[in-house]
Each structure stands twice: as structure tokens, then as C-alpha cells.
Amino acid sequence: MSTATTTPAPVMPARHFLNDNYGIRSWLLTKDHKRIAILYLLSITVFFFIGGIFAALIRLHLLTPNGELFSADTYNRLFTMHGVNMIFFFLIPSVPAVIGNFVLPIMVGTKDLAFPKINLLSWYLYIGGATFSIIAMVSGGVDTGWTFYAPLSSGYLRGHVVLMAVGILIVGFSSIFTGLNFIVTVHRMRAPGMTWGRLPLFVWSNYAASLIMVLGTPVIAITLTLLALERGFHIGIFDPKLGGDPVLFQHMFWFYSHPAVYIMILPGMGVISEIVPCFSRKRIFGYAFVAFSSIAIAVFGFVVWAHHMFVAGISVYSALVFSLLSYAVAIPSAVKVFNWTATMYKGSVQMDTPMLYAMAFIGLFTIGGLTGLFLAALGLDIHIHDTYFVVAHFHYVMVGGMVTAYMGGLHFWWPKMTGRMYPEVPAKLAAIVTFIGFNLTFFPQFILGYMGMPRRYWAYPPEFQVLNVLSTAGASILSVGFILPLFYFLWSLKYGEVAGNNPWKATGLEWETTSPPPTHNFHQIPIVTKDPYAYGEEEEEVPVVH
């Protein structure tokens, strides 16, 4: 891939971060944020497909009401490992560790993240945690549910809870170090002229997510440590039989795990804030509002955790407070959706693949966000809590939102990462198939949830079967939408058109350097003189840096 193709227009740069150095050592010991991003990309893709296989098996099992495919024990392990892998090993690192790692330093105009060795350490911690997870999986798995509720997990189940807890603990530190690196880089490494008001919104949202990573993750670390200690040494922290309090576990767990959903969604929102202006050829509508709404989400996100516990026996008054605060966190999300929509107004919209994903994101995230209002409404949450309604809501935000944004971002920056374009036709097809498959999979689950089907059920009453079959049918379509990109991305590495520095004619420092960028990102550190998203001016000047 180091030589240019015959096309006369864009030419592959002679030297870039991919061909600067060869050999396994040059990858495994790299301190280059871009190579580390590629390492992350490969590893989280593996976990995405492992988690995806679990999901497929779950949906297959739920075709029939009486639990005929797997035993209840196996089924419980399947949904636990689907949750653990997808959340801790795919969603949390997805946009920050892959796309963020790759483009964030270039966006702020620096040669690397502030601490390249710590960045590499993050990846090794990820791999370390992943190894524990894989050992736990192949030696029989865990059947606690990804929430690890005590005392079930600490005293009653036989799965490898401690192994999995250690894995999550380690991968947590990977995420802490990524967040730390981002925060310091954004604060201290910006190029001359790159003021806070000129930071791309992708940087803002990753910055907000990093705050959560740094402040929230240590709490889950200590919680899981206590859980593992209780399980291993029978000391009483959470198990009432030993004098502990199981509700305390839920408080501590959700203190991290609720903000963690914002770790997952905020960077995705950042991706959308990049794509929408670019493909509308327009400045983002209300830059300051979109930027500050990210920070607002991060801050409010820390004070809403008990909305997962409205029926867990907390006091009526604390439930009222947490419900109120949960509505507070909904507002900044709504502001973002309106701003993205307004950005398209009077634009010049081109529906390339990233834009299709972005539009899908806005629609699906709107539904996901609005169904969150159902769950925050106290009286209504009593009925739909722990039902498929929650499952559907969560997947609308996490798959319809985050995975869609991740796919959109991957397509958007793929030419920057590899120097080559993905093929447009199969990519558009995949985006549309994903959208259709996704809705067919998860929309019926809202109805199932309101009907009262509890989540994590191995067998269910027969009247729920039709909706479950619809959902499984959707999942099979959805899987096509996710497998297709795997093939054409690989194909494009060799046969894709050479992209050139800026195939989308986008603004942002990452588009001013070559594709793929040189090892130190810029041949000369740029000086920023323009506002972000200065679309409409690019016709006059063509920034080319050699």
C-alpha cells in the first residue's frame, strides 16, 4: 500500500505513519497515537464480533417461548457476556480509543498525545483486561448479568465472577489513562491559535467524556474490588447474610455505570457534530451551545445514578430528586439534536455514507432519548423498569446512537486513517440495511416491555412470541449491516481509491495534513487563524501542507 496508484489526481504520500517502520515490534512498541488507534481498532473489532455472536445466539434462543435452544444456565452466561463484552470492551473504548486516539491530537494540532507511553500502556491494559475476560469466557463464563448485583454475584453463582471483575478493573484503568491523556492534551498541547472556542466539537465531547472516565471509573474499580473480596474471602460488604447492604452496591455501581453511558454516547455525539456540518457545507448551528451541552451532560450525568433504582427500595424523596435531575440531563441532549437539525437548514447536503449514518443517528438517538423520559417518569418507571422497554431504550441509545456514530466516524475518517476511500455503494447499502435491521430488532422490544416481558428471561409466556420473532428477524438483517463493512473496509485497503488529503473538503486540522498522516502528524505545527467549521470559505483557499 505504499505506492501510489495510477490515478493522476490524489497521490499517496511517500512516507506516512503506516510505512515509516515495519515489523511487529514497530507496532507493539509504538508510541504513535495513530498506530495505537489502529491497534485498538483491531482489538475492539474482535470484541464487537464476539459480543455480536452472543447477541445473535440470544436472539436465536428467544425465537421460541419455552427456551429450547440453550439451557437456562447457558442463556444467562450468554447475555452476561454479551453485556460485559459490548460495554466494557467495545462501547467504552470505541470512539475515544479508536477515532479519538487517531484524530484528537491532530485536531488540536500537536505531534502526539501528552503521554505517548501511557497511551501505549492503556492499550496493554486493555489487552490485559481482555485476556482476563477471555479466560473467564472460555473457562465457562459468568452468569451474573453485566450489572453484577450483590449478593447474587458475591455469594450465589458459580461463574468466574472474580476473573471477570479483575478484567473489568484492569480495562477500567485503560480507560482512565486514555481520559487522562485526552484531558492533558486538550489543556496543554493545543497548537498556537487553537483557542477553546476554536476546538472542534469532537474534541469538546471527548473532553467531557474524559472527565467522566477520570472521575467515575475509579469508583467502579473499588466497587468491583470489594465485590471480589467479598466473593473470595467472605467479608461482609454487600451481602446481608454477612452484615452488608446490597443496595449500597447498586449505588456504587451506578455511580460509575450511569455516567459510563455518557462515556459511550458523548464521543458519538462529537462524531455527529463533525459529520453534519461537513456534508451540509455549513457551520455548526450554535457552536457554543453544542460544546457546553457536552460539559453539562458530563456534570449532570454524575448526579442521576439512582434513577436505576426507583423500585430498589430507596426513599420516595430521593427518588423524586433523582427523577428531577434525570430530566435536567435530557435537556442538553435535546439541544444537540435541534442544533444538528438546524445545521442542515439551507445547507448543501450531500448524502454520502457518513451523512447517512449521521442522519440515522439523529433519528434513532431522538427515539432513544425520548424513551428515556418514560423511564425517568417515576410512576411509569415502576411498570417498565427491568423489562424489555429498558433493553430497547438502551439499545436505541447505544447501538442506534453510539454504534451508528462509530460507524459513521469510521467511514468519515477511514480515508484519513488509511489513505484510501471505501467503496461508496456497498457502504450506503450497509448503512441502510443497518438502519432497517436495527429498527426491526429493537422497536418490537418497546412493545414487549410495556406488555411486561421482564429482561433476562430464558423462557417467556407464549403471547410474547410474535414480537420476539420479529425482533430476531431484525437481528439477522442487522448482522448483515455490521458484517458487510468488515469486507469492504478490508477490500479498500488494497483496492480503494486513493483519497488525497481532504476527500470531503472538510475543515479541521486533521484534513490539512496528508492521508495517512506522517508519524508526527504535521511537517510543521500549524497556526490556527480560523473559527471551526468555516465552511463556505474553503472555495477560496485550498490548504495543502507538504
Binding site: F17, D20, N21, R25, S26, L29, T30, K31, D32, T110, K111, D112, L113, A114, F115, P116, I118, I176, L180, N181, I183, V184, H187, R188, M189, V214, L215, G216, T217, P218, V219, A221, I222, T223, T225, L226, L229, F233, H234, I235, G236, I237, K241, L242, G243, G244, D245, L248, M252, F255, T519, H520, H523, I525
Partner: protein, 265 residues
């Protein structure tokens, strides 16, 4: 490894390629350390919160547990750590003022004090083992099962009978506490000891990491890496060490001091 040379020509050998200047490098590194310490605060914070919640829930048991651990050793350890913070600060100062020999001696002093702390902690842990105060309900983890009501195979059989201590204390204030009741409270000190070991254990783990860091700093210091131009690692090591000390400053009163019985062991 690093794939190509930076374009900057002359700079301090310790300047990493991604930074423009030593100032930026030091600034970023210090800032990063503070962010990391924030993470640490949240981690200990979670544990402290859980401790406080159970302290309220099992107040008599926590008082009895506090009374049973040695405030004298805890106090000595506090002094040791405060001294080590002083020597650490001096080591950083020596580096900032390019005093090469001095920084080495202060680092060694800090390491000795840190090791003394861990030694005393190990002694305290052994005492708990000897008194059968290692928690774990009915599970014999390390040799002796948990027992706070006497009958433990401690070298001194008078040691560690928390139940008796509770009754003695009650008798002093002319209250009647039945043996069953005192036994039950003594049993609940398991939760106190769970937290005692979790909190001091996590702290000791940080101390061990700190000693590792100091060893690394010592190796670099002996090679003369630090001077007034470049002392960032020394400063960061100092920040970390002080943080670990401050955690102990919170642990000591929480575990050893608050609401002890008068005249407890």
C-alpha cells in the same frame, strides 16, 4: 519505538518529541499527575463513603473495633509518614537546586521511612492474625478462623477478646450488657476489620508502588538525570508520595481514633 527524529535540533535530552519546550513538558506532566490524583481521590472516596455508611449502621461494633487496634503503632506510623513526606520534599528541593548527592540521600531516607511504615503495618497485620481478627465469616482463610470472643489460639490468650472488652467498658459506666449481646457486637466487628484491611491494604499497595517509583527515581538520580533544568519525574514522585501520606492522615483518625473507648488497649 520512536519512528523518526523530531525536527527540533537542539534541546534538552529529556524533552519528549511531542512537546515544544521543557516548560510545556513539565506543565503537562504536573497537570497530568494532578488529574491522576483526582482519580485516586475518587477511588479512596468510594471506599471512605462505604466505610462511613457502615460506621453509622454498626456504630457500637466500629467503636469496639477501633478500640481493639493499637493506637500507639498507628501514631508511630503517622509520625514515620510525616517524616518521610519531609524527606521527600527535601529530595525534590535538592533536585530543583541541582544538589546531586543530597537528593540521593533524601531519596534513600524516604525509602527507609516508607519501609519502616510497611514493616510496622506488617506487624499490626500479624497481631490481627494472632488475635484471630482476620475477617471472613466462618471461613478459615489463613490458619485461624475469625474470633473476637476469646478462645482464640493467640500467643497471649488475653488478647483480642473484643466481647470481653465491650462488657468491661460497659461495666465501667455501670451498664449491663449480656454476654450474648456483647458477642454479637463483637461479631459485627468483622465488617470493621473488613474495611480496616481493605483501606489499609489499598493504602499499603500504594506505598509499595511508591517505593517502586522511588527506586526508579533513585536509579535516575544516581545517574545524575535531575538538575534545576529537569526535575519533573522527581516532582511527580513527590506529589504521589505526599498524596499517599495524606490518605493515611485521613485513615488514621477514621480507623484508630474516632470514638475509642477510654482506656482501650
Amino acid at each position: 519505538m520512536s519512528t523518526s527524529q523530531t525536527t527540533t535540533t537542539e534541546h534538552h535530552p529529556a524533552l519528549a518529541h511531542q512537546f515544544d519546550s521543557m516548560e510545556q513538558q513539565q506543565d503537562a506532566s504536573t497537570f497530568g499527575m494532578w488529574v491522576f490524583l483526582l482519580t485516586e481521590i475518587m477511588m479512596f472516596g468510594g471506599l471512605f463513603t462505604a466505610y462511613l455508611i457502615y460506621r453509622i449502621k454498626y456504630y457500637p461494633a466500629f467503636v469496639a473495633g477501633s478500640t481493639s487496634i493499637s493506637v500507639i503503632w498507628g501514631f508511630i506510623n503517622t509520625l514515620v509518614l510525616i517524616c518521610s513526606s519531609f524527606t521527600m520534599a527535601m529530595a525534590v528541593w535538592s533536585a530543583q537546586t541541582s544538589r546531586r548527592k543530597l537528593q540521593i540521600w533524601f531519596l534513600i531516607g524516604t525509602m527507609i521511612l516508607g519501609s519502616v511504615f510497611l514493616g510496622i503495618k506488617a506487624k499490626e497485620y500479624y497481631d490481627k492474625y494472632d488475635e484471630c481478627h482476620i475477617p471472613g465469616l466462618g471461613h478459615q482463610i489463613i490458619g485461624k478462623p475469625f474470633n473476637t470472643t476469646g478462645g482464640c489460639s493467640a500467643t497471649d490468650s488475653k488478647l483480642g477478646n473484643i466481647s470481653k472488652e465491650i462488657r468491661d467498658h460497659a461495666a465501667e459506666s455501670h451498664e449491663e450488657v449480656s454476654k450474648e449481646s456483647a458477642d454479637q457486637t463483637a461479631d459485627q466487628t468483622q465488617i470493621f476489620f473488613s474495611f480496616y484491611f481493605a483501606m489499609t491494604g489499598l493504602h499499603a499497595f500504594h506505598m509499595i508502588i511508591g517505593l517502586g517509583l522511588l527506586t526508579w527515581l533513585l536509579m535516575r538520580a544516581t545517574r545524575g538525570h535531575f538538575d534545576s533544568q529537569y526535575y519533573t519525574p522527581m516532582e511527580l514522585g513527590g506529589l504521589y508520595w505526599h498524596f499517599v501520606d495524606i490518605v493515611w492522615i485521613f485513615l488514621f483518625p477514621l480507623l484508630y481514633l474516632i470514638s475509642r473507648h477510654k482506656g482501650g488497649a
